[in-house]
């Protein structure tokens, strides 16, 4: 589903080259739940941005659903991102001026779905996160945990291949965090791959695989937390 080979990322500013990610190989199969851990500034976000087609890699190969994304134009890349990837952000990134229904509708409007199809998907997604009854409410009327549920509904409504979650519980208390984690696990159980960046080792341990990034180097951890590569 996701294949990265000798992939690396370097930033060049004022003739100074910073190697954000050193060359690495990584393959994630459909249906896997992968945690990405590492200290601040280690390159987690850069990895997530590249995986999510938000940023371009400098070198190497990146295939998402067997498509080499390096050659994509902005238009093609945007459409592909819309179709294949669902995002869940740390600070939810809902549009405050739109109600829950319209927030979930937003990415669907960039697809060629008709109204009925969009409506079906929105209601299904909102039901899955338990907020269908509040579809006319605005984000500011919800708790943080509920807002993150809306963001998850928005991510799954387009039935993506993979959900990229960036510290999805970072802004939530532990009880709300638990709810979000179990929701993500349910979604994963239904077949959607999940790549989750997190600080929380306990949460990370709930994934099938853990990838650690340190100073731009990726290394895979087994469940007993022993490095294998």
């Amino acid at each position: 589903m996701l294949k990265m080979k000798s992939l690396s990322k370097a930033f060049v500013t004022d003739a100074i080259k910073t190697q954000a990610l050193h060359p690495f190989d990584l393959t994630i199969e459909q249906g896997e739940f992968v945690s990405i851990i590492g200290p601040s500034g280690s390159g987690k976000t850069t990895f997530l941005n590249i995986a999510g087609l938000l940023e371009e890699h400098s070198d190497g190969l990146y295939e998402l659903d067997e498509q080499n994304v390096a050659q994509f134009t902005d238009k093609k890349k945007s459409a592909y991102r819309n179709e294949k990837i669902g995002f869940v952000f740390q600070s939810f990134n809902l549009i405050p001026e739109l109600n829950l229904y319209d927030n979930v509708d937003m990415p669907l409007r960039y697809r060629k779905f008709n109204r009925d199809e969009r409506h079906k998907r929105i209601m299904q997604a909102l039901e899955q996160v338990g907020l269908a009854g509040r579809k006319s409410h605005y984000p500011t009327q919800l708790s943080g945990g509920q807002q993150q549920r809306v963001a998850i509904a928005r991510a799954i409504a387009g039935t993506p291949s993979v959900i990229l979650a960036d510290e999805p519980t970072g802004n939530l208390d532990s009880k709300m965090a638990e709810g979000i984690m179990s929701l993500l696990k349910d979604i994963n159980a239904a077949g959607t791959s999940i790549i989750m960046v997190t600080h929380d080792n306990e949460q990370a341990a709930q994934a099938n695989r853990i990838v650690q990034i340190k100073d731009g180097h990726l290394s895979e951890y087994t469940h007993n937390k022993k490095a294998i590569a």
Partner: protein
Amino acid sequence: MRDFLPIVKTFKKKKTTPILLAFQIAVTFMVLVNAIYMISERNDLIASPVGVDIKNTLTVITNLSDEHGDLINQLEDDLLALKNIHGVINAAPMTALPLEGWGAYIEFKLVPDEEYVAFGGYFGSNEDVIDALGLTLVAGENFSPSDIQTAERDGIYKPAKILITRALAEKISPDNWRDILGKNIYFYKEPHEVIGIIERLQNAWSSWSAVEYTVISSVRESNHSQRYIVRVEPDQMDYVIKAIPEALLTHAYKRIETIEPLSEVKKRSYQEDLATNQLLTSVCIGLTIITLFGILGQAKFTINRRIKHIGTRRALGASKSQVVRYFMLENAIISTIGVVIGILTAIILNNQFVELLAITPVPLNFLLFGAIAIVLLGQIAVAYPVSQAAKVSPAITTRGA
């Protein structure tokens, strides 16, 4: 158009900024449309034909002296001298000049001692007047030399044959303007027989409502300050202007007050209108620039406020061009609301103004044209900030909280 509904829903939640901008656009629209209409009306007035061969007609004002014999003889000498200049088609005396801003006006009656039927401007001249001004006779006939009378000033009080403009003929006999031919018009209680109708001749006051109602009487006057009109062959204007002093200044007492093309007289008469138009044009340009910057600033502000929102849209699948379309459409909607408010207000105010001040309302095609122009202006103004918005990286959604 997929963004239309979400944009409208966003407005409902965040009203202030779009409402203020829409009002600014409405006010700009009304001021611009009215100002441009006023400019165009004035331009039409300035461009309206005088009725004479304006390119090839010039005027001379010179003195006639009581101490050097009969004024009429001096006038005849002057005319002969003018006609003898190479390139001159004809010359005639005039009591006043078209658009000069100085002259006599009269009330026309069909029956003496009754109410006047029209009012207009008066010129006295001789049988050469049609040729010397390049007028077009559309009915009846020109004066014959035997019709011409002579007066020292105040020829206006003499009964005489007259030519009138078609506009005046239509005013006096609206059913059939030719009916006035052969009839008498009275002014100062004296009868004046209409023997000819000329297509057009504006009288002395350009801004007067009766500027097209003109009478030429067959009474030539000799004045101490004597006006002549001279028509020249094409391209002979400069040559004739240079030749006139030599031709006229044959005695030591002779003076020339002015020699100038009639086009200069016309220009002078519209000087205020031209100045007002220039002022209005500057106001329009200024207002347009201010509005452009207003829209640009507002767009920049709302885009900066929504950087994260734009990043989110990009991350969730909006391409750069879709972001551009979103904000262009947003501005077009606000501008359209603005011009609709503007058009409705203009129509309501127009009706009030027409009733209260008897001014002409701004025609609908002006409003529509103005509306399209304002919406386009808005699109141009947002183009730059929107192009910046398109550059917002979707990666900002994951950087920082």
